[in-house]
C-alpha cells in the first residue's frame, strides 16, 4: 500500500457520492411527505420514480415532444397519477392495519413494473441527453456533469419544497394532519384533500428524481430498486423527519460511493445495509425520527 494517499480520488468519490445522495434525499423527501400525511409506508416510491422516467421517455419517443416539455408533462402526469393512486388504492384502506396498507403498496409496485414492461418491454432504454456535457471541475476534482447538475436540481427542489411547507398554509395543514387527523378535520382542514395532495406532490417529486436518475444511468423496468436505497435512507433518517431524509440521503450516498470506489461495486449495498443495521440497533426511530413531529 502506498504511503501517498490519493486525496484527489477521495474528493472525487465523495463529490460523486453527494451527487447520488442528493437524489436519495429528494426521493426520501417524497417518501416522508406521504408518510407524514397519511402514515403509509410507501414501498412503491421507487416504482413511482420509474413511472415518471418512462412517461418522459414515452413522450419524447412516441410523441416527439422536446425534452423540456416532456419533463414538464411527465411531472404533471405523475402528479395526476399519484392523486389517482391514492384515491383508488390507498383511500379505501383507511382505518385498516398499517401492514395491510403496506402490502397494498407492495402490490402497487408490482403493477407499475408490469405496466412499464407491457408498454415498453423490460429492455433497458436511454433517455435523450438534455444536460450540459462539459465536465465540471470543483477545485481540481472532476465531477461528472450529469451528477453535478442532478445534484443542483435536487438541491433547488428540496429548498423550494421546504420553503413551501414553511410558508404556505398547505404546509401547516400537512403538519396539523400529521399530528392529529381528527382534530385537524374538525378544525376546517380538509384531511382527504391533504391526503391526495401529498400523494400527488410526492409523485411529482419522484418523477423529477426519476428523470435525473434515468439520465445518469439509463432507465429500465428494474430501476425501482433505487427505492430500496431510499427506504434505507428514510429508515436511517427517521420515517417522519424531513431533515432526517436529507442528512441520511447524503450520508448513504457518500458511504455507497466510498464503498464502491475503494472496495468495489459489490460492497455498495453491503455498506448501505450495514449502516441500516447499526442505526436500528442504536436508534430504532432513526437519527431524527420521533413519536412527535417537531419540524417540517
Amino acid at each position: 500500500m502506498s504511503l501517498e494517499f490519493d486525496w484527489l480520488f477521495l474528493a472525487e468519490i465523495v463529490l460523486a457520492g453527494l451527487g447520488a445522495g442528493g437524489l436519495y434525499a429528494l426521493t426520501g423527501l417524497a417518501f416522508v411527505m406521504i408518510y407524514k400525511a397519511t402514515r403509509v409506508v410507501n414501498l412503491a416510491i421507487g416504482e413511482m420514480l420509474m413511472i415518471g422516467a418512462y412517461l418522459c421517455f414515452g413522450l419524447v419517443t412516441a410523441m416527439n415532444l422536446p425534452m423540456w416539455l416532456a419533463i414538464l408533462v411527465a411531472v404533471i402526469g405523475s402528479g395526476v397519477a399519484g392523486a389517482l393512486l391514492e384515491r383508488v388504492a390507498i383511500r379505501p384502506m383507511l382505518g385498516e392495519s398499517p401492514i395491510s396498507v403496506f402490502m397494498v403498496t407492495v402490490g402497487l409496485a408490482s403493477i407499475l413494473v408490469g405496466v412499464v414492461e407491457l408498454i415498453w418491454t423490460s429492455e433497458p432504454r436511454r433517455l435523450p441527453e438534455f444536460m450540459p456535457a462539459t465536465p465540471v471541475m470543483i477545485g481540481e476534482a472532476f465531477v461528472p456533469p450529469k451528477v453535478f447538475y442532478g445534484f443542483l436540481v435536487a438541491a433547488v427542489l428540496i429548498g423550494v419544497a421546504l420553503a413551501v411547507f414553511r410558508f404556505w398554509r398547505g404546509g401547516v395543514a400537512l403538519r396539523a394532519t400529521a399530528s392529529d387527523q381528527q382534530a385537524a378535520y374538525s378544525m376546517g382542514i380538509d384531511v382527504p384533500k391533504v391526503f391526495s395532495l401529498s400523494w400527488s406532490v410526492a409523485a411529482m417529486i419522484a418523477a423529477i428524481a426519476g428523470v435525473i436518475v434515468g439520465a445518469v444511468g439509463g432507465i429500465s423496468s428494474t430501476m425501482g430498486v433505487f427505492g430500496l436505497s431510499v427506504l434505507v435512507v428514510v429508515i436511517v433518517g427517521g420515517l417522519d423527519s424531513v431533515l432526517g431524509a436529507l442528512v441520511a440521503g447524503l450520508l448513504i450516498g457518500v458511504v455507497e460511493s466510498l464503498a464502491g470506489g475503494f472496495l468495489g461495486g459489490e460492497y455498495k449495498l453491503l455498506a448501505t445495509f450495514l449502516i441500516l443495521i447499526v442505526v436500528l440497533l442504536v436508534r430504532p426511530y432513526g437519527l431524527f425520527g420521533t413519536h412527535e413531529i417537531e419540524r417540517l
Partner: protein
C-alpha cells in the same frame, strides 16, 4: 333564556346511527337554543360521544337530520361545518403535539382560510392584512381570557392536563364558532380546575355570545351551568328539559341507578335545592 322561544341554532332530528348492526343512536332528537348551555348526559356507553361525532360530521347517520341555523347540514363535510361555526374539543385531548400553545391557537383560524393558489396571490393584499390583524387581536383576547399568556410559547405536550384542556378550548374559540361543543371539559380535573373551567364556560356564553353544547359527567357542574339537559341511555333520549325537570324524572333516576350514581344525583339535588336554584 327559555329554550324553545327563539328558533333553535342547532336541531337534531330522528338521528339513528349504527355500526354494522349495532345501534349506537336510535331516533335521537333535541334542540339547542341560541345562547344556551345545553348538556348531554348519560351513563357510560350511552352514545354521547357518538352523538357528538355525528354532529361534527365524522359519522354519517343512517336516518335523521341535523340542522344548523335552519340549514340542513346532514350531508355537509366536517371542514365546511367548521367554517359554518361549529367548533369542538375532544374527550381525549386532541392538540397538535410538538407545536406550541400559540401555534395550536393560530391553527384555529385555518377554518376560515382558503388554501388555493389564487388566494395565496392576494395574500398580501390590504383587506387580507387587516383581516390578519383582526384575527391576531381576537387570538390575544382569547389568550387573555383563558389566562394562558404565561404558557403561550410552551410546547403543549409539557402542559398539565387541565391546561391542555384549556388550550383546546382556546383553539376552538379561535375558530370564532357560533356553537362550541365540549366533550367532557372537566373530566379528570381537580376541584379547583373544574371551577375555573366552569367559570370559563359561563363567560364564553356571556362575553363571547357563543352557544355551548357539552357532554359532561360531573353532575354538580352540569346542574349548575346548564339551561337545558338532554339525557341519553342506550342511544335513546330518555329525558329532555331543565336541570330540575331532568333530576326529578324517574326514568333518569332509574338509568343512573344501574350505574350506581343515583345517591350522588340525589345528593346534588338536595344541595341544589338548599342553595335555592
Amino acid at each position: 333564556m327559555h329554550p324553545g322561544k327563539a328558533s333553535p341554532i342547532l336541531e337534531v332530528e330522528g338521528l339513528t346511527l349504527s355500526f354494522g348492526g349495532i345501534k349506537a343512536l336510535t331516533d335521537v332528537g333535541f334542540e339547542v337554543a341560541p345562547g344556551s348551555i345545553t348538556t348531554v348526559i348519560g351513563p357510560n356507553g350511552a352514545g354521547k360521544t357518538s352523538l357528538f361525532n355525528t354532529i361534527s360530521g365524522f359519522y354519517k347517520p343512517s336516518v335523521g337530520r341535523i340542522r344548523f341555523q335552519g340549514a340542513d347540514i346532514t350531508a355537509t363535510r366536517p371542514p365546511e361545518r367548521a367554517r359554518l361555526g361549529l367548533a369542538r374539543s375532544f374527550q381525549n385531548i386532541a392538540l397538535f403535539r410538538g407545536m406550541t400553545v400559540l401555534d395550536n391557537i393560530k391553527l384555529g383560524r385555518h377554518a376560515h382560510l382558503r388554501t388555493n393558489v389564487f388566494d395565496a396571490l392576494v395574500y398580501f393584499g390590504r383587506a387580507r392584512h387587516e383581516e390578519m390583524k383582526l384575527r391576531e387581536e381576537i387570538e390575544e383576547r382569547i389568550i387573555d381570557f383563558l389566562e394562558i399568556d404565561h404558557i403561550r410559547h410552551m410546547p403543549v405536550s409539557v402542559l398539565s392536563y387541565g391546561l391542555q384542556k384549556r388550550v383546546e378550548m382556546a383553539r376552538a374559540l379561535a375558530m370564532r364558532p357560533k356553537v362550541l361543543m365540549l366533550d367532557e371539559p372537566v373530566a379528570g380535573m381537580n376541584r379547583e380546575e373544574t371551577e375555573d373551567m366552569a367559570r370559563f364556560i359561563l363567560d364564553v356564553r356571556e362575553e363571547w355570545g357563543v352557544t355551548v353544547l357539552m357532554v359532561e359527567h360531573d353532575m354538580g357542574m352540569v346542574m349548575d351551568l346548564s339551561d337545558h339537559v338532554v339525557v341519553l341511555n342506550f342511544g335513546q333520549v330518555i329525558a329532555d328539559g331543565t336541570p330540575a325537570e331532568v333530576q326529578a324524572d324517574p326514568e333518569v333516576i332509574k338509568a343512573y341507578l344501574g350505574s350506581g350514581e343515583v345517591s350522588e344525583l340525589r345528593q346534588r339535588l338536595h344541595q341544589a335545592l338548599a342553595v335555592g336554584t
